[in-house]
């Protein structure tokens, strides 16, 4: 049964009392970006609340009352998971119908007016300053489906695939918050991949795709040369967001040998604005995809270290209704974020607060659960019908892609990510 709040929270809200996700907000009347939490249809302005001494009973915040006044969540994230836990619980207590501190907010209409802002009046910003961004490839069903397309079923997965979380370094500068439009990239493509000699043409991508992913933010540094043991990796993860790793498949096909995708990915990556803390996800731990390979000891951990997050994606053409084109789940991963982080650092790579790890595309095994159009349309062969009578194989200019993810039930209070939205704009002329 959900904790009840004295503050009205719609039952269908992703931001129940069980959630309390953190983000960076601003408003028309105060354009300075600052920290907030989402609660129902509102944001609680943590900078204003903190300045009004709202955290007077939270010792960790009392030490630095400006921690929520920064333009990013990095300073708060850097305080560590025990502090995230303390602050989240305090905000939950503050908003509970039987709050032990009614004088702070429940009975203080003036502070409510100052600090509780309707979400439709809030502008969301990138929640973290991202140092390095790494994208993994641990959605095994996606890796398998793509492998079958390009190498056949016998060699679909590379020999290393089940032994380690395969990943590559991505581009941090083009990570944007939900709502930011994405220009269709242009680049070198092979108009006819089977012609010889292979001579590329220069054109806007004709195979623009999304990828449904989860992202994890790092909240603890390790020194260069000092790996993060698997037993401590969980303490290094601040929280998760939805992530759309936009991909230009034709550019990718031509450029990727031998060093991997580059311009096919670096033109834009969208993330949802609210960081759902690991503590909020704790009740939704579940089993990852079964791995029959015996892992090396440094990667061994309990198997229930992924999360039962119901994921879906809508596609809306410029004129026409949105169609939910896929349903997947956050448990469709072969490795956990803790395993990704431990593997990432095992050679001594230093992680910094604000680094972002992507899971890779999260596909299920059934039709309609493929996490990108490349898989769903079998590289352009199958047509996806939209509800307005249109159809798609890849994205058209004007299309809006919306990712959603949510855990739990309305009865117990939803723990959701809200949305990660991006609209495709035409290639910029130059």
């Amino acid at each position: 049964m959900a904790s009840q709040s004295w503050f009205p929270i719609p039952k269908s809200s992703h931001f129940s009392l069980a959630n309390i996700p953190f983000g960076i907000i601003s408003t028309a009347t105060n354009e300075v970006p600052r920290a907030g939490v989402a609660i129902g249809d509102h944001a609680l302005d943590l900078a204003a609340f903190s300045a009004q001494n709202g955290f007077s009973s939270v010792s960790s915040i009392q030490k630095d009352l400006t921690v929520f006044a920064h333009h990013t969540l990095n300073p708060f994230a850097a305080l560590g998971r025990p502090v995230h836990r303390q602050v989240r619980r305090f905000v939950q207590d503050l908003l509970r119908i039987d709050t032990p501190f009614p004088e702070i907010l429940k009975n203080n209409k003036q502070l409510q007016a100052e600090c509780l802002i309707p979400l439709n009046e809030v502008k969301m910003h990138l929640p973290m300053q991202i140092g390095d961004y790494t994208d993994f490839f641990v959605g095994k069903n996606h890796a398998y489906n793509c492998g079958v397309m390009f190498r056949g079923p016998d060699n679909a997965l590379q020999p290393n695939y089940t032994h380690l979380p395969v990943g590559y370094h991505g581009r941090a500068s083009s990570i944007v918050v939900s709502g930011t439009p994405i220009h269709r990239p242009k680049g070198q493509i092979l108009a006819n991949p089977n012609a010889e000699p292979k001579v590329p043409t220069f054109s806007p991508s004709k195979r623009l795709d999304f990828e449904l992913e989860l992202g994890a933010f790092v909240c603890r540094e390790n020194k260069m040369g000092e790996p993060i043991p698997i037993s401590e990796a969980g303490d290094s993860i601040f929280g998760l967001v939805l992530m759309n790793d936009w991909s230009a498949r034709d550019i990718q096909m031509w450029e990727s040998a031998p060093l991997g995708p580059f311009n096919a990915k670096n033109f834009g990556t969208s993330i949802s604005p609210w960081v759902v803390l690991m503590d909020a996800l704790e009740p939704f731990r579940t089993l990852s995809i079964q791995n029959d390979t015996e892992l090396l000891p440094y990667l061994r951990e309990e198997k229930n270290n992924v999360f039962d997050i119901r994921l879906e994606v809508d596609l809306a053409p410029e004129s026409g209704p949105a169609t939910t084109i896929l349903h997947s789940n956050g448990k469709n991963l072969l490795f956990s974020f803790s395993q990704m982080l431990t593997h990432h650092s095992v050679g001594g790579c230093p992680m910094r607060v604000g680094d972002l790890l992507g899971s890779g595309t999260i596909s299920g095994t059934e039709d309609g659960s493929q996490g990108c159009l490349l898989e769903r349309s079998k590289n352009g062969k199958d047509i996806i019908k939209l509800s307005g009578g249109l159809d798609r194989t890849f994205l058209e200019d004007g299309d809006t892609v919306t990712l959603r993810g949510v855990c739990g039930t309305e009865e117990d209070g939803l723990v959701g990510f809200g949305q990660c939205i991006g609209r495709v704009l035409p290639t910029m002329s130059s």
Copy 2:
């Protein structure tokens, strides 16, 4: 004939009046990192010089006298190439024997004592705050030699290789300044790559290598979605450094399919501390490696856009003398940094001030000009003799690798990079 200075500059110095490279310095008496230029055996402390009104006749610096007081060169780099040029010329004028401003420094012993610091009393720091780091692979001889080793001479280069500068995103957090030791990484390796099934073991890398590269720092932003035309790319490059892209070949072999190198590279990348401005390199423009492929228009530029930089690498075991094990040249590239930058942004990827682009390993065609041990030892088959009687195929713990690069002649004044030094430490126990 070199410009003469009233200040003593050894003839063999990389830092003649013709150079004036920028870096971030600190000293025992002032531990705050700040900007300086190298001149002979000394650094000119630009923060102190600026604070004493040394730049009173340089309008671009007068606008912000604190630009050299920052911990990185980013604020100065962001002022743009016309300002870099103005400041470099002013410093050259200041130090010329026939300086038009003798009162500022030549005849001011007190300011000299404050601002001119022997290099052996200077600690060097990372010169830039690096947002994103991208490593290219445009050393064609290196790409060919490696391709022959792993795919044979007929398929040594991938079909895309001559059409675009192949590159991948690297790890910014592990870029360190010359002198920082590097711990040997551990990770998954295949003890016997030919055995089936392929089951990795966990061990310190047994094939640790260096890579001789040049790095270029970006000094101008482009907006997301807006490519940098080739005609403007040169204005976006601040200057060059030497770069050692340490590589663990056994980790790389196992992990790289299908997304490219990851832990094999992200444990450390060393750069030389002094950024040699593009203006200083201008006289050394030369022809790149001939490319018989007709490039797409967006990549076409004059062919003399690489630089005649004499490169060499020393290897010194823990006990024993250093041996110069290779000689190469900065002209051994198929694409210029301008072409790399234009290609990088052509899909709309936003570049930021401080981003670093690596060239890829720079090898010549002759024996003894291979830019890494993988090539030089033919993947461990050939032994490299060191002058102390020892030999190597890959790096041992305690080995020190020193990169050097220099242009021009002593007569005209050398334009050099100094050194990029790194010592291999054993794997950290954990």
